[in-house]
Subunit: 187 residues, 2 copies
DNA sequence: GATCTTCTAAACTGATCAGTCTATTAAAAA
DNA sequence: TTTTTAATAGACTGATCAGTTTAGAAGATC
């Protein structure tokens, strides 16, 4: 039969979107095959461990992306520039509130128990990287941690409410408000 | 056989906890019967419509509780007192961050599509009731809406991060910070 | 105490689940 | 060109799913 053009990284991205839409338990193999157009043969070829391996690889993939695009810049580059870019990266990654945070969603039900280290690591890394950048930008240590925590909390809450209210605008408003608060703390 | 002491309100509360732990899709009937100790006979007697009816009744139940304990006081009672009580109610309802918001969790996956009106109504009501109380407490209308939105966003985000980090403390810190921000806006 | 309603238990059903397997194909390597 | 490898399609399996049904017990009503 005709071999598809997809390779593993494509498969990861396709399956990730299904998990994002349906959640871990809601994403049955038949739904995954239907939505990705990948057959069971292909899926189990790429992910012999089934759904659990898919989810683990997806989370590792998301984490690696954030490390490269957001956390490492916050840790290594000019803090004010990296923080400014963080807001843009956040807005574009979450499609201005139309796309949920899969790792945040996994945290809410018992899926969390299977991937607790990855989930904890992702959010911990985000908060620590942002707090570190704030310190380098002149914010006192205690306030930096609080501000970083507030930012990540706000982003997650805004994603929840954007979906709940069916209104993306709340995500943009929240990002703008958080950005102003961090900016004024860096003055 | 021995009739259990439970009646429908008890059944709703028991099943709600299972949905909270496993999510809508993750809560299979066999898990629900195992965790609630209610047989299928009992569950389908109380909820002839199955899981969907359970979830709908649970959400209506949660909504009614919030209306009585939080939204109506915010709308009708002395605003500063009602807002102060809101923080306490929020902390105790969510067990200081150890209990998730079921309606927020339902908002994140496709479960949302089945219950979108109830989900939207719950959060909209919360934000509007809080904004109204802030206005009555002397906060200008535009700022009141923003502050109310910020409070509900923060609560939801803190619930997500408390679970993700396995650390309840972030919920208490977030509640305290939000409370201070609203209090100082009311001065 | 007889009857009726409400509730419970669990066996049962057909559908769907995750995962396996075989056959087949295209592309890469030899 | 031949062989090997990576990928694909989909039938198949046993387990579990949501939901039905039947039988019967507890409590209420008379």
């Amino acid at each position: 039969m005709v071999r598809s053009v997809f390779e593993k990284p494509d498969a990861i991205a396709l399956v990730a979107e299904v998990f994002r839409e349906l959640g871990y338990e809601g994403a049955s193999m038949s739904e995954i095959t239907a939505r990705t157009k990948l057959s069971k043969g292909s899926l189990y070829h790429f992910f012999p461990g089934g759904k659990e391996e898919m989810a683990a690889e997806i989370m590792a993939n998301i984490d690696a992306w954030f490390v490269t695009e957001m956390f490492r810049p916050l840790e290594e580059e000019e803090p004010r520039i990296a923080i400014a870019r963080m807001w843009e990266t956040t807005d574009s990654y979450f499609r201005s509130g139309r796309r949920i945070c899969l790792i945040g969603a996994f945290a809410l039900d018992e899926t969390r128990d299977r991937f607790s280290d990855a989930i904890r690591g992702y959010f911990h890394h985000w908060i620590e990287a942002l707090a570190g950048a704030l310190v380098k930008a002149g914010v006192p240590g205690s306030g930096a941690k609080t501000l970083a925590e507030e930012a990540v909390v706000g982003i997650q809450g805004a994603l929840t409410l954007a979906r709940a209210l069916g209104d993306d605008a709340i995500f943009g408003r929240t990002l703008k408000r958080l950005r102003q608060r961090l900016d004024s703390a860096m003055e």
